[in-house]
Symmetry: C2
Subunit: 320 residues, 2 copies
């Protein structure tokens, strides 16, 4: 059921993107800006915004432009991150900087950034509510930059504590989900305390989403991942799984070993399963999602609230 | 007199930047973001915003945060441009990407981008006016990306027409000056037609500023430029001077010749002076500035209006 609900909203978002960000002169810039956006993805963040609006009694149809702005911000961060990580593939497509070069990808990201604010500015609600949402969005973008900075910094550090990791994923992933849910409420004129509850819901479930992503990177079949299994591991990424392993002196000899064989990865997976490191990450993700769901106590029961609760579970149960 | 007026405002802006964008955790990110901003510069854009506010009877002191947001946007574009152009030096300092790498510079720019919107959001005026200014600023940022895209595209083109060049500098340089003057008026609650006149004033004088910059690159002493004379020429940049020369079949053999000697540059300068190409650029710049000044007819006379007229002349008379 949640799948259907998400698919319908994803289609609405994709159509709106074509209307709100047409390919105009200079066409090269707009093609580069739309390349990743058009590759799809599950549109979870804008869908969360629309369902949050419904759950507070707002009109989701009026907020499609705001939902699009969230999706554009998400894609802007992916395009710039892929330059930094020198990643070749994203959503089964060549990454933007592989096709248009670093300069083209920097500009494509910058364009999505400003277009997001332009499009949010056109939401047909009171100016006061749009301004409040713009303040939420600009704060969120600053936090995302901080999160990405920390992520890069951690790569050069020997040890990272669990608290530091949590701060990083809160900023890198949590806050944009938080902004999505919160803006859905704010733009619908919901009271502050409700908007705050939804912010908390989005942030905590978004952090769960990120930890689940780390788990999938190790456990999902390569066909589903669309990339090499154990990529984070061999890249030396300090995920929660690795932090747990390092703290418990688990021997992970392929950590940071870029030429590790599939057999070595497989063996490491068993080691990390026996050490309880994967289970630990799973339980932390589940805990965050449960806390996120509790934050919805500010809402009275409704089909949309139930959908948000389902979405929360989906974020750590999805297979990709 | 204009010098003193500008120096005073530049100091106000610099102090406000320290308050509004302090170096906080993660400090590396904020140091990288502040590096170029702290190197100074003339702060012409935010000063134009403050003087425009005065000229429409507004309170410039209330708009310092808006002026800062313009300066941060300007610096964000410089940081990203320097990555694209692989420029080593800016304002006599090492460029951000030379110190923090491309990843650090991308993130420093992105942070200035979102901080600009955060800081603009705090301007102590009616929400409706702030929202209007945010819409102006986001539109402006999109246009700047388009202008930079065109500039890069022109490097790979054999011929560029004068109209194409004018479109490029309007977007790359003109619109941010336009936004500065226009936001000064808008945030002061000036009528639309006045804000429009100021937008036109900023845009046209900003274009004159850019052409004057191209002229200085060829004619100013290296000591004043802080970099090699004729840099645009040997990089093969299609400035208005070169477009005129190419259209008049003037032989410019050092065009795009990166290892040209100072003697060759000197000789080319004489050729471009005899062909009237430099004079042509100067007269186009003067013409744009005059048209910009006429756009101020929407304002009644005042000391601030006279200051704007002086600022317009300064933009094409400054020695650096």
């Amino acid at each position: 059921m949640i799948d259907e609900e998400l698919t319908g909203r994803a289609e609405t978002i994709s159509k709106a993107i074509e209307d709100l960000m047409p390919i105009v002169h200079p066409t090269g810039l707009y093609q580069a800006s739309r390349h990743l956006v058009d590759a799809g993805g599950k549109r979870l963040r804008p869908s969360m915004l629309l369902i949050a609006a419904e759950a507070v009694g707002g009109d989701p149809l009026a907020l499609v432009s705001a939902a699009v702005s969230i999706e554009l911000i998400h894609n802007f961060t992916l395009i710039h991150d892929d330059i930094m990580d020198n990643a070749n593939i994203r959503r089964g497509r060549q990454s933007v900087h592989k096709i248009w070069g670093d300069s083209g990808a920097i500009l494509a990201g910058d364009t999505l950034y400003s277009k997001a604010f332009q499009i949010l500015g056109r939401t047909p609600v009171e100016p006061r509510l749009i301004l409040e949402s713009m303040n939420i969005l600009s704060q969120t973008c600053t936090a995302i930059c901080e999160g990405q900075w920390l992520d890069l910094e951690f790569e050069n550090r020997f040890r990272v504590s669990e608290d530091e990791y949590m701060e990083m994923i809160e900023k890198k992933t949590g806050v944009l989900y938080g902004a999505s849910a919160c803006m859905g409420a704010t733009l619908s004129g919901a009271p502050d305390e409700v908007a705050k509850g939804l912010d908390e819901f989005g942030k905590l479930t978004g952090m769960g989403f990120q930890i689940h992503d780390d788990v999938l990177d190790l456990t999902a079949p390569e066909k589903v991942l669309g990339k090499r299994r154990g990529g984070d591991l061999v890249e030396g990424k300090k995920t929660l799984i690795m932090i747990h392993a390092l703290e418990h002196s688990v021997e992970v000899d392929v950590f940071g070993k870029k030429d590790a064989t599939p057999q070595e990865i497989e063996r490491t997976l068993s080691i990390l399963e026996r050490s309880g490191s994967i289970e630990y990450a799973r339980s932390r993700a589940a805990n965050l999602v449960n806390r996120g769901k509790s934050a919805l106590d500010v809402l009275s029961d409704s089909p949309a609230k139930r959908l948000l609760l389902e979405l929360a579970d989906y974020m750590i149960k999805r297979g990709y």
